[in-house]
């Protein structure tokens, strides 16, 4: 979580310096949703999410330098500089990517799970989506078929209460989003997403349900994004008090206080991990800075699997 937080802080600074371009959506405040989940699943399990996707591959164990290089658009990035912030991918880590069309990843998550069931494995798929994304029609079609075919997928709503400038209350009569699953009789519940331990327990329980062949689960995780929607959003639609209320429940501070209370960690240990994280982030920036942009010949690569695909090239 600390790495996620410091990585995002750095990304925010680099965006202002125009080292990172395009749209850039930070995960500050939401770290527990990934940290609590990865500790409850195995590396063979799958993950897919939307464009707010820096923390997910970090959680899966990808070195931050490959993420930072991608944010820079460098050829050494995890998507070879072709995807940028919104489209991180990590096949090695069973991370099926960050997706830019809101809700587009919901049926994909069901499909990834479909393939696991088809192949007869016990792997589960974690499919993350925002509170705004649940308003897309594709969710309903995917939920219904996931239940019908008992697909091993955990749908996770990252409910940070805002879709850009629109609060959940302004888009629906049903403010408890987990209830969306109920009309499909999908096991559904609300989870405190600011608490790593409760997230871990909920994901572990859901994954067990999936692995037993009982089908999908919906978890609505209540969380908050500390930053604006993207780097260009001043977030005027919410109050400072609201932000402070959530910051008081900060997921990292919560873990630290448990560790401190039980004397499982010393201040020296905390400092040491801050140091370690800082070194990792610095290394990532240096790696990104020193990597080259993709060469123009890369333009026609990776579009098709077929290597000699006949592109139209008019010469201009």
């Amino acid at each position: 979580m600390l790495l996620m937080r410091r990585f995002e802080e750095k990304a925010g600074q680099l965006y202002i310096q125009q080292k990172i371009r395009g749209f850039c959506h930070l995960y500050n405040g939401q770290e527990a949703l990934v940290a609590g989940a990865v500790s409850a699943i195995s590396p063979d399990d799958n993950m897919v999410t939307a464009y707010r996707d820096h923390a997910h591959p970090l959680g899966r164990g990808m070195h931050p330098k490959f993420i930072m290089a991608e944010l820079y658009g460098k050829v050494t990035g995890c998507s070879k500089g072709k995807g940028g912030s919104m489209h991180l991918f990590g096949k090695e880590y069973n991370f099926f990517g960050g997706h830019g069309i809101v809700g587009g990843q919901i049926p994909l998550g069901a499909g990834i799970a479909f393939a696991e069931k088809y192949k007869g494995t016990s792997h589960v798929t974690l499919c993350y989506m925002g509170d705004g994304a649940v308003r897309q029609g594709a969710l309903h079609e995917a939920f219904n078929m996931s239940m019908l075919w008992k697909l091993p997928v955990i749908f996770i709503i990252e409910n940070n209460n805002y879709a850009m400038g629109t609060s959940v209350e302004r888009t629906t009569n049903v403010h408890d989003l987990y209830k969306i699953g109920c009309s499909y009789e999908m096991p559904s519940k609300q989870v405190d997403g600011m608490n790593c331990e409760t997230v871990h327990e909920a994901i572990f329980e859901a994954a067990t349900h999936c692995r037993e062949g009982k089908g999908p689960v919906l978890l609505e995780m209540k969380t908050y994004r500390y930053r604006g929607h993207s780097m260009s959003d001043p977030a005027k639609y919410r109050t400072k008090e609201e932000l402070e209320e959530y910051k008081a429940k900060d997921p990292i501070e919560t873990v630290l206080s448990v560790l401190r209370k039980n004397k499982w960690i010393s201040e020296k240990d905390i400092d040491a991990s801050e140091e370690r994280v800082k070194a990792l982030v610095d290394e990532s920036v240096e790696f990104a800075e020193n990597s080259p942009f993709p060469d123009v010949h890369e333009l026609y690569e990776d579009v098709y699997v077929q290597e000699d695909y006949p592109f139209i090239m008019d010469g201009f």
């Binding site: 395009g22 072709k82 940028g84 069309i101 123009v296 890369e298 579009v303 139209i312 008019d314």
Partner: protein
């Protein structure tokens, strides 16, 4: 004359028409309380209220369909897509409902609706957020497709689009919203389907539309320094296409280069090329060339974007080739 921004020109067109006609309403994501993702509808909620400036959930298929239904039943919706990339979620209702309704009902149900928002690339946004779908929508009978290139045209054409009784696709650009130009305060409209010669020239015709017209200007100025006089035609509407303006220009210049941000296959450029070889074959002194985006999804890295999008250098190279220079 006063100068205003592209977004203000759009806002004036919307507001002026809404003041005159109670049945017009604006619907889309973040159009009301947030004042529009790109501030086109700034202040409109205050003026027209939440009955007529309507925020939606992120549910393009649903709200596009609701708007088409409302249009079938006497209202005149203006639907804002945050970008046309997201219109693909709604495209079933645009193509299968809006574009078909008149014909399928034997003329009983018209669909007076405008779908508007930005199209094409807007910086380093990678492939899902950089697509130019003008030729996709232009392919579909039942629709009209407008792609303005400047604030003056945007205002006049949007007013025509709103007054039009058929479904209109109106495509803008994030990269144009801040552009400023002279726009008169007096009422005016610009007819749909009429191209304009934006710059007269005798040596070569450059045909384009939308944001990329600016790139043509830059290229034309460079060419001028070398004594090559390029004529620039802004199609303004890509369905219907004003073929005659292009044909007449080619009869004069005998050379044609088409510039378009979309992918090459089945593009507007392909269509114009067909028409010109059919109608003005004997006038051509060189094969028609086109400058489009590369035939690939637009990546994120700046080096690859530079190699992909039409730019002045590529246009100049194409012009010189048709001039055999």
């Amino acid at each position: 004359m006063r100068t205003i921004q592209f977004r203000e020109a759009l806002r004036e067109a919307l507001s002026e028409e809404m003041r005159k006609d109670e049945t017009i309403f604006l619907i889309g994501e973040e159009v009301a309380e947030y004042n529009g993702a790109y501030k086109v509808s700034q202040g409109m909620l205050d003026e027209f209220g939440s009955k007529r400036v309507i925020d939606t959930p992120i549910a393009e298929l649903g709200f596009a369909g609701i708007a088409v239904g409302a249009a079938m039943n006497g209202l005149r919706p203006v639907v804002e897509f945050m970008t046309f990339n997201f219109s693909l979620v709604a495209i079933d209702q645009i193509i299968n409902s809006a574009a078909k309704m008149m014909s399928m009902s034997g003329g009983q149900y018209s669909v007076p609706i405008v779908f508007r928002g930005p199209t094409a690339s807007a910086g380093m946004l990678s492939s899902q957020h950089s697509q130019a779908f003008e030729s996709w929508y232009a392919n579909c009978p039942g629709l009209k497709v407008i792609v303005p290139s400047n604030p003056y045209d945007a205002k006049g054409l949007l007013k025509s689009a709103i007054r039009d009784n058929d479904p209109v696709i109106f495509m803008e650009s994030e990269q144009m919203y801040g552009d400023k130009a002279e726009v008169p305060e007096e009422e005016y409209t610009i007819p749909i389907g009429v191209a304009e010669i934006k710059r007269a020239g005798s040596d070569v015709t450059l045909v384009s539309f939308g944001k990329i017209i600016k790139t043509c200007y830059t290229a034309a100025e460079e060419l001028e320094k070398e004594g090559i006089h390029a004529e620039i035609i802004d199609l303004r509407t890509v369905r219907p296409i004003d073929y005659n303006t292009v044909i007449n220009s080619v009869k004069k210049t005998n050379r044609l280069v088409i510039v378009e941000e979309a992918w090459p296959l089945a593009s507007i450029a392909s269509e114009i090329t067909f028409k010109i070889q059919k109608e003005a074959f004997d006038y051509l002194d060189a094969p028609i060339l086109r400058v489009t985006s590369a035939d690939v999804p637009l990546p994120y890295a700046p080096t690859l974007i530079e190699a992909s999008l039409p730019n002045p250098g590529r246009i100049i190279k194409a012009v010189k080739q048709v001039m055999y220079k």
